[in-house]
Subunit: 113 residues, 2 copies
Amino acid sequence: MKQVIIVNESLRLPPGKLAVQVAHAAVAAFLVTSPEIQEKWIEAGMPKIVLGVSHEESLVRLFDAAQRVHLPTYLVRDAGKTVLPAGTITCLGIGPAPSVSVDALTGNLALLP
Amino acid sequence: MKQVIIVNESLRLPPGKLAVQVAHAAVAAFLVTSPEIQEKWIEAGMPKIVLGVSHEESLVRLFDAAQRVHLPTYLVRDAGKTVLPAGTITCLGIGPAPSVSVDALTGNLALLP
């Protein structure tokens, strides 16, 4: 079991703003996950990792791919109240889900430093 | 309604590592919140902010204060698998809860940049 949050690195968000967006993705993707998987993930200690991509389009492609294989997923669009234009895609949450399913989509991406 | 996550800035965590810790606090504090408050917060768009403090002890004090007034709260201790010694307190989640209750404890803290 794992949850992956993938960040749009092209936005160069400051650390606090980035953390808010990632937390939003984590909670929102959790909420679209089935209760059985939620429970297994909580029991496992809620493992999560944060990865990065260079383009917004990569997040849209990963979102489509996750939906196609019925993984719980949530695309975060910023409300545009601070530094970003409204609707900017900041990050994507996938899972919690079995690690093998998540890795099939995201295993080639780099950890966000 | 709001959720606040307060970060131990003295650790100078890299942005990706920080985001993982904040996301962990967000989900874990959400899970110790009553279903009624969870629902109200979700309907409000899950508002959350990330604040910073300079010392681990400040997080412990805020955790104690939040428990004393029966706010949902969760102190994140790192498992010590990567850059931090096991048990290091990285951040604290408070809420979701009514904004006035959260602000009474955290209203004097600075936003994490």
